[in-house]
Structures are given as C-alpha cells and as structure tokens.
Point group: D2
Chain length 350, copies 4
C-alpha cells in the first residue's frame, strides 16, 4: 500500500498516518520529495481496508500494491493450466481440453428450443468441426415476459445430443439450488455475465467436479474477473476457464464492445485458459466471423459461438447467430488462422 | 416494432420481411420514402424476437417500440406509489414511507461490525434525524479474502438497534435461500447492484411481504432497472423502491459516476419511488454532502447514506463514509434544500 | 513516481530500475515487503516519461504521484478565483462574475437564428432573471449537412441584443483564426467540448483579455480538463471558468451523462469556478429543471441553459431547450435552492 | 424519421405532430397498434431537426432513419476504395496503397526526437518490412509541460529519412494554419483522435492533394467517424483512410479499449479503407503483437505501429512502443496471419 499525501500535508498529519499504519500491524516508510510526501507501507495489505487511509487528514490518495487474487495468478503456478472435461463412464462423449495447443470451438444454439432442434444443430456443428455443444436450458432474460428456457427438459435434450454426437455439453447454471441438477447433465458449467459476482454461486461451483466457464461481467475489469475466479479456486475447484464476451460502453455499432485485449491481459496475469464469445461480444452475425478469427489471432484458447438452423426463427438472440453454412465457412477460416499463429483448431477425438 | 430496410433493399426482400411479420401473427405497413423503406409493425411485439428480423436480407436495423415492462410504467397507475414499511406488532419500530412529500433519510454503517458499533451508530443517526437504519450483515465482496459480514448475528444486532431507536432496518439479501431469514429481521430488503439481474432472487422477493429497495446495476440502463423491478412486481409484491447508486464509466475522480438524471428519467417512466445512494455513488466522503443535496434538489424520494463513528476504522468502505458530525451537518442542509423544492425531510414518528 | 515491481522481480531487475531512475536525475528508494518490492522516486517527475519505466524488465506498473497542472491547483492560490467580465466603455453591458456568492445564470438559444429571434430571447431571459446571454454564431456540427451558424452576422445580433438588454454575451470560438473576431463581440469566450484538447486554440485564448468558459470534453477526466485549463493559464490569461456538460457513457436515457460530482471534484482540486450546462448534459427539456436545481445544490458557480421562444422550431437542439414559461418557473426554483445552500442567484446590475 | 407517441397520446396530439411534419415539407403516415401509435415520416429528413419533434406533447421519442453521411457510404460507390500515395517527382519514395489485397504496415517512433533517431528507426522498420514511416513533429499533449515536438525541424528529418529509405511519411497535422507546411513534407496527413471533430481542420484537408488518415475520437461512434470523413470528402478530397485507435471505457488493463469490431462495422457501412493503431489502442507493448495479429485477422487494411530503438528512453509513449527485435518478429507473424485470411502484407516497391 502506498499513501500519497497532499502537497501541503503537515508533519503531524504524516505522523498520524504512520501511527495508523503501525496500529494495523504494518510498517510505514516515509519518502520526502520536493513536491510530495509518500508513505510506502510494507506488509500484507490484504489484511487492511486500504481505501480507509484515504479519509485521514492530509492524504491525497492511496494506491494498492498487491493484487487480491493469489491462486489465479501466474506467480502461483509454473505452467499454464490445461483444463479438460471429466470422463463419463457410460457415455460416448469425446474429451476436450482448453489451454493447450489445440483450440476447441464450442457451438450450438443460444437456447434449447426442442429435442429435434438441438440434435439437428449438434450434428451440424460437429460435422463442421465443433468439439463441444453449447445451449441454454436456464436463460437469464432482461424481461420477465421473455422465454426463460426449457429447464430440466432442455438439459435432457442436450444430454441426448451428446450421446448422438460425442460432443461434451457446455450450459449455464443460474442458481446454487440447481448446481447438482446442471452438473449431472453438463460437462462444463457456464456462469453468465450477470452472475460473475454472484458470490454464493461461485462458491457452490468451487465444490463441483466439473470445469467452470466463467464469463466476464458487462462492466467488470479483468482484475475483478480474476477475483471472481479466485472464489471458485479457493473452494477447491482448480478448473476455471475465463471468458471474454464484451463489455458495455457507449458504442452503438455492436451489442457489447468485444475487448480482445482482455485475452493477452488475462494471460499476462493468470495461468487460466481464456476463451472468447464473439456472438454476445458483437450482437450481429456479420461481425462474428471477423471477430472469431481475430480472437484466435490474439491468442484465445477457445471460442463459443451461437449457431442455429434458421437464425431468423431462433427463440433468443437470432441477430447474432450463424447459420450452418456460415459456421462451416468460419471453421475453415479458423483452421488457417490457428495454423498461422502456431496452433490448431481442436478436432474431435484427438 | 419498426423494420428499417437498407436503402438498396429489393422488393423481394421487403416482401420477405412482410411475410415473416405476418407469420409471427403481426401486421406490416410499408412506407416508401425517397431514400428509405420502413416497415411499421402493428401488434404486441412482446410476443416476438424483435432483433431476429435484423438478420433478414435487406434489413438495416430494427427498432423496438414498446417498453417491455408494464406494471412499473406510469401508464399502469394513475398516481405515484407511496411505499411504507410493514408494521411489527411487537416492536417499537416507527413506520416510514418512500414516495410521499416527506423524504426519508436512511443511514448507518456499510457493514455491521458488532453489537455496540451498530447501536452507537443507530442512536447517533437517529439523533441527527435519520428515520431508518442501514447496515450489511451479508456483504458481496469483490475479493474472497475480504470480510464477508456477520450474517445472522449481524441481523440480530440490527434488530436490537431497531428496538432501541425505533428505526426500521434496511439490509441486503444476497441469496434466495436467505430470503426468509433476512425478511424476518429486515423492514426493507435491499438488492445490491451486483444482483440487479439475479432473476431468481428477484422472483423470490416478489413473494415477500416487505418493500424491496432495488439498486441499479453498475452498467444497467434505467430501462433494465425497470425490467428488473417488473420481475418483483409480477410475482405479487407491489412495493419496489428504485435506487440510483452510480454507474461505471471512464471517470476516475469518483468510484462510480452518480447519474442523478436517472431520478427524473425513472420518474418520467415509472410510478415507483426513487432513492439515491451518494456514498457508493461517489466513493469519497467529501462528495457525499454535495451529492446528497443535489439528489434532493433533483427530486429523490429518499437517501441512503453510510455513517460510522470513525470512518478510518470501518471494516468496509471507510473512504466514502461520514462521521457523526458530518452527518449531522448534512441533515440540516438537506432540510433546507428539501424545503426549497417544496418537500421536507421525514422526521421520526410523523 | 512509484515503480511497483512484479512479485517475482529479481535483484538485477530492481538494480536496473534504480540505475535508470538515477540516469533521469531522480533518486530511488527501494522498499521490500513480503510479497512486493516498491521503488519510490523523489524529484520532479514532470521532467521524465513516467510510463516508460513500465517497459523495464520486472516492472508491474508505475504510479504517477504529482498532478501535472500547477497554476490551476488549489495549492497555487490561497483563495478561490472570482472571474468577472471585462468592462466595455461604450456599452450598456452590466458586469457579472463567476465564483462568488451569487450564481449567474446564462441563458439563450443554442444558435443565433436571426436578429429578431435573439433579441426576443434576450429580453425574455433577462425578464426571467438571467444575467448573461448565450448563443452560438459558429456551430460545431457532427454532420456537414447541418446548419453551421450565421458566423459574424450572428455575432452582430448578439452584440445588438447586449445593447438592448445589458446582458454580456457568452459565445463559442472554434478556431484560432477567429479568436480576434469573436473576442471583439463576446464577453466570455466559450470553448466547446470537442475543442477541449485543441491545444493551439487553448494557447490562443491564453493571450486574450476575456474570460474563457472551457467545457469538459465528452470523454475527458477532470484532471484532463484541468490540464487543458493550464494551457490557457500558462499563456497569461488567469480567467478560466470550467464547465461540466456531461460525458459519454453507455446510458441511453439522456444525451450525455451529466456527472455532477465533477463539481465538488473540480473545486477540491482547483481554485477556478465551475459552471454546469444541464441542457447538453441531459438532452431532454424535462430533465433540465431537476438537473439545474441539483447543480446549484451541488455547489455550481453558474448555469448555462438553452432557451427558445418555440423549442420545437429551434434550428438546433430543440429537444433540450426550455421555452420562456419553463425558464421563468425554473429561475424561481433556483433562487430557492441557492438560498437553501447559503448563496443567491445573481441579479442584473448588482 | 419515425415519431413514436406515448401509449396514452391523444388524437389531438397526434394531429399536432402530423401538422408539424407537413409544415416541414414532409409527409406523415400514422400507424395505430394496440399499445402504440407510430408516425412514419417520408421525405428527406436531413432537412429537419429530427430531435425537435421529441418536445411536442404526447411524443415518446423520435428515431432517425437516414444516416447523415452519403459520400462515405457503401451505397455511394460500387467498389471499395483503394487509396494510394501521391507520386513525388524528385523523390525515391516508393508508393503504397491502402484498401487493396496487400496490407501496408506503417511504423516508426511516436515522436521525432532527432535526425539520427528517425533515420535509424526508418532503416530498421524498412528492413523488417514496413512500407511507410510514422513519426510526430507536432504532438498534441495532455499537459502543457510535456514535450510538444520538433515542428518543422522534425518534418525535415522525416523527409530525409524518406529519401534514405523510400518510405512515404505519415505524420499528424494539428492546425489549419500548418496544413500547407505539413502537406509539403508528408505523404499521408494524419488527424489525431482529439481533432476528429475539429471541423475547420477537416475542411482544410478536403482541399489537399494527399490522403488523410483520420483517427476515430476517443468517444466517437463509428457513425460520427463517418460524418467526420464526410467533411473531408465533400470538400473534394476522396482519399480518406479511417483509423481505429481505441476508445475510452471503464477498462483499466489498457490505455484505451481497442474495439476491433469497428473494422467490420466500418466496412459494412463505408467504402473507405480501415487501418488499426494497436499502440495507442492498448498502451502496453506486450499487447501490441496479439492485437496487431487480431486486427489483420479481423480485416484491417493497414496497421500503424510505434517502434523505437530503446522504448524505455522514448520521449513519448515508450510503454506502448516495440523495439526493433519485437517488431521484426511481429512482421513475420503478420505475414502468416495475412496469408491465412487470403491477403498479404505489402512489401516495398511492389
């Protein structure tokens, strides 16, 4: 912690800050400059309310030195994490892993609309090269009058599609109560952007034996995303996959602003894999191709893309959804870009 | 719904949109201008995926006409809502109401730290003129290593402070599981900014016989706040108090950007009372006074302010917390401003 | 300047930073903590490229300690600045001042549309209590096809309105070339939000014997606004009035997000007066009243408000413009709020 | 233009809007729905103040249908623009073009610091494969105390570097007065983000026989960028190159948020080439590589990258600057990514 005093701070004000620092069990070091006085504080600042020092007389502002996450940080682990699905003994499911050389593409509808729909889409995306199936059974919707998902029935259809295609299932869990239910059907449990700081849900997923795909909140910084991951990690689940899905800004040409620099920024700070959701990140189908290619070029460890047989008839988010033909074309482009950056697009059963 | 075609859209593309509109059970009206073709659609657009029409060939963009909330809207109710606490038969609690001529000020610590602390603060804020006590027993914290609250013990201290002072208790509920517990102790249940779109929690509060103070999410629009309120209203609880507490922007002089224009904007759209939280809205104690006065001048129906005996020692958020003297001074200022805008600051027991 | 090293930084990396600091003529002080190493640097950091140290091996980040403005800061001047118009020997103009106890209200059309229009409005706003006339003769417009102002003809009409009403003229100057022309007619020269960092224009106004009303840029921080003011101050013009007019955020209920906390934040840092523009700050007439009252309650030293005889027919920005009746009502409200906060609304000729 | 009435709007209010529309020379078409009344207006809305209709009684809001730019739009030109440098008869300069299959990389220092510096860098970036030289002689700086550039002396060094290497010069022009001077030395005139809406400067560049590289403002939408381009185009200069350089958001992991979706969004709307500045767009050297690759993958028609012999000693922006080795490595990566998306990195003299 560093306490920066106002230029005109008095010796008594500096002494008061020093006394308060010592009271908190930490050690102050004062440095005097021509225009400034700075108190550098040694010791574990996680134990104190750093910002409180800002209200003491004569203080200009306080700067935190330590990140508040530990387990997620690159310092905590010598190598980057590679996070794989958990085998299912009675299933045809083909394993995938995030964070290695090969980049898995997860695809499927925004929401499960029915049995045939999800099976048709699963087969089409597998044919095009996807290695996992996405699809929402519980849907967080801004309006209470909007379609809220098929719930357990939707999970059953996803599981059936998995048995037909071998694709592991990635699906969202919205409440702590439904964690056991969703964990029974899902291979990767997704936490949506609106729940990134639903701390009880994060803790509940810390106790689950499945990878968690944690989406960045609409206005969360990358550090806040890592703090959220820390909640899961510290409860004992080391398998957290981070996901950039766009943030909210003034821009109106896209639904969200997909901030691809979050990919190198997260990999600079943490050992966890980073995937990108270009569908929610842009909101328009015509941008999904360019931004998927860009994500792979920027170092993403996976993609999660919305695909539907007829996007104009999708129950949810049709405007940002690719049809089968567009998805197939995109997969070919992604293989070329992945190769150009020394990686590959993951293929099923490898 | 209005579908705006690209300038070069063909007659076949327009016909296709018309056909799709009819398929959805709605009626299209095409208007041709020199540079534009617009399809105005009559019928209840809540039944369709408005944005899906955006993927049809030749479409430039789609504009939604109807708000998706009904119960919250000014059209739904002839008069503005006045929302009062529910009487407690075995309590000395003095009722308060939001939305009337008198403006209640809720004050107290960010978090309950102990029995003596909360009682001391409750007595001080009541003496200064507050009519309700705030204090967190369950705390949503960015970092898992930060203090998370005293939980039920904290609720008991709040209840004891209520009996000592007559001040109703406003406190946050973070999970659906804890709704019955919190509802037992609290007079107003607060939903924090991070939970504004925790839809299951919203629904659970729709079944509670207590007012809900719903804080606007960090990057939620005012329309999204009203949609969140609608979740509570449609489950049968009409007593929703909206709260502006600042949004996240590029600004770095304050913790959040307190957007006071949300006060007139919300009152323009909805009949529900609007309160302001200048403590979280600014993050710095020196701004709390000016922004509290401004909130009252802008038409706020209540204030919720953080107060502590010694802010520099608060467990949480000391930097934005007033001490007793500053709060007392502020209350006098608020009475003058309220009077200037034809209202009053609510006094206990009136 | 404070250089925060990565937790795993090596002794050699620390020594390298120390050497570079000394090379720059500054003195490093290293503090070692359990998890962190921090290098506090004494000396005038304005002489170095602070952020460059961030590229040295082992550095996590660099924190600037000193503000880069001096003349604008509260440390530079014992008292708050009161900035008045410059007398005109051959004019009926009545002087006004910003920053004192009395709060001037500047009102008038967004743009000068014609001789009669501006005179009619000037008389109406003076009758309602405004003490200065605003109106654009040169208009910055997003689209090249939009009305760009009457230019010198517009300035002449403003001057004529001044002689009729005694109201000093506040009008925008957009280019260095037109500074002499505008300075001839105007009593306060306004720099628009888009020109806040037009540094040559700022410098040109530093040489003018007229107060400058400097609007905050759409995405400028308060510190950047003060740096812009510093450009004017250091060229010799001490009369800079700062103006909050809303910033660009994700919010869609208003044209900009009027950030009233900028008022206390600017007054905390600088001795210059701060005025508020609630018209551009909101974009909607129905919010102008509440936000004007709020601005005064928050400590604003002036208001600048758009008024037109028939806003629906205004050439520019009608949606945010008050008609005469609404403005008259607002002035009465402002007098009450000003009194409530121990000030007054300035009256002509006092 | 579409006028959306409030649900409770009266017949008289609707008639009043219709009358006003006719008064403006346009034709209203009213559509009545169960919950809504909408007035679709046919005719050239560029002639009216669309937002003014928002103040009429009973109006909820007004939606603009037409974009206000014409010359920049994809409808205005059958093919995408390819914009090349203007030959210099007495120079060794090798031509380049933006918007074709080959992608030019522009590289060089943030600012010209001296003769040797710029020549050394020019030779190094040419050796690595850059085909144009960037470097600022006039620098817009937030603080008046910061280095402001070598001015004409800097331009001379850039011209000398051009003769040594054949690299055309891209450099910023900040004022209308200096347009002739900069145009004499520069091959592409850059307008910085802070000047994107300096409309007089835009107009002045409309009369210059050189391509203009127009950077997007820090909080400008893509439509506003296209309006700014329109100012140049309508004055007769068809050679405008658009540049995405990051926008200002709440994110703190990067200096700006590089919004790569602006690349497909701009190409969707306009026929002009789009280049990306990953140096200002991120602010940190370690992100420049990933984001440069991503930009090419997203469809960028060029890159402009800051390179310095020793970034830690750069006068300006060292933190975001690559050294020679990092730039050389990046160029090899970019060739691979360009090939993967069916393009190439432009080579000198082709």
């Amino acid at each position: 912690m560093i306490v920066i005093m106002r230029p005109g701070a008095s010796p008594a004000e500096i002494e008061n800050v020093e006394a308060r620092v010592r009271e908190a069990g930490l050690e102050p070091h004062v440095t005097y400059g021509p225009d400034c006085k700075v108190i550098t504080v040694v010791g574990d600042e996680r134990a104190v309310q750093v910002q409180n020092f800002g209200v003491l007389p004569g203080v200009d502002r306080v700067v935190s030195v330590q990140a508040k996450y530990k387990l997620a940080s690159v310092e905590a682990r010598a190598e980057r994490s590679v996070i794989g699905t958990v085998p299912r003994s009675d299933s045809t499911m083909k394993a995938i892993a995030f964070g290695g050389e090969a980049i898995p593409v997860v695809a499927g509808p925004c929401t499960v609309e029915g049995r045939e729909q999800v099976i048709e889409i699963a087969e089409a995306v597998r044919a095009a090269g996807a290695v996992a199936l996405r699809g929402g059974a519980f849907k967080p919707r801004t309006s209470p009058y909007a379609f809220q998902g098929l719930e357990e029935e939707g999970l059953e259809y996803l599981a059936e599609a998995r048995e037909r295609t071998g694709l592991p299932v990635v699906t969202e869990v919205m409440t702590t109560e439904s964690v056991p239910l969703v964990a029974k059907y899902a291979d990767v449990l997704q936490i949506g952007a609106r729940n990134m700081q639903n701390f009880n849900l994060l803790r509940a997923l810390g106790a689950v034996n499945r990878p968690v795909l944690l989406k960045r909140g609409m206005s969360a910084t990358v550090d806040e995303l890592l703090h959220a991951a820390e909640y899961i990690l510290m409860e004992g689940n080391p398998d957290v996959i981070l996901c950039e899905r766009g943030v909210r800004t003034f821009e109106d040409h896209s639904r969200n602003t997909l901030s691809l620099s979050a990919v190198p920024a997260l990999k600079h700070r943490a050992h966890l894999p980073v995937v990108v959701d270009p569908s929610h990140g842009t909101g328009y189908a015509y941008m999904v191709g360019p931004m998927s290619r860009a994500a792979v070029a920027a170092g993403a460890d996976g993609l999660i893309i919305e695909v539907h047989a007829d996007p104009s008839k999708a129950f949810v988010d049709g405007a940002q959804t690719l049809d089968f033909k567009a998805f197939e074309k995109l997969m070919a482009e992604l293989r070329a870009v992945a190769e150009a950056v020394g990686r590959s697009v993951a293929a099923q059963g490898e």
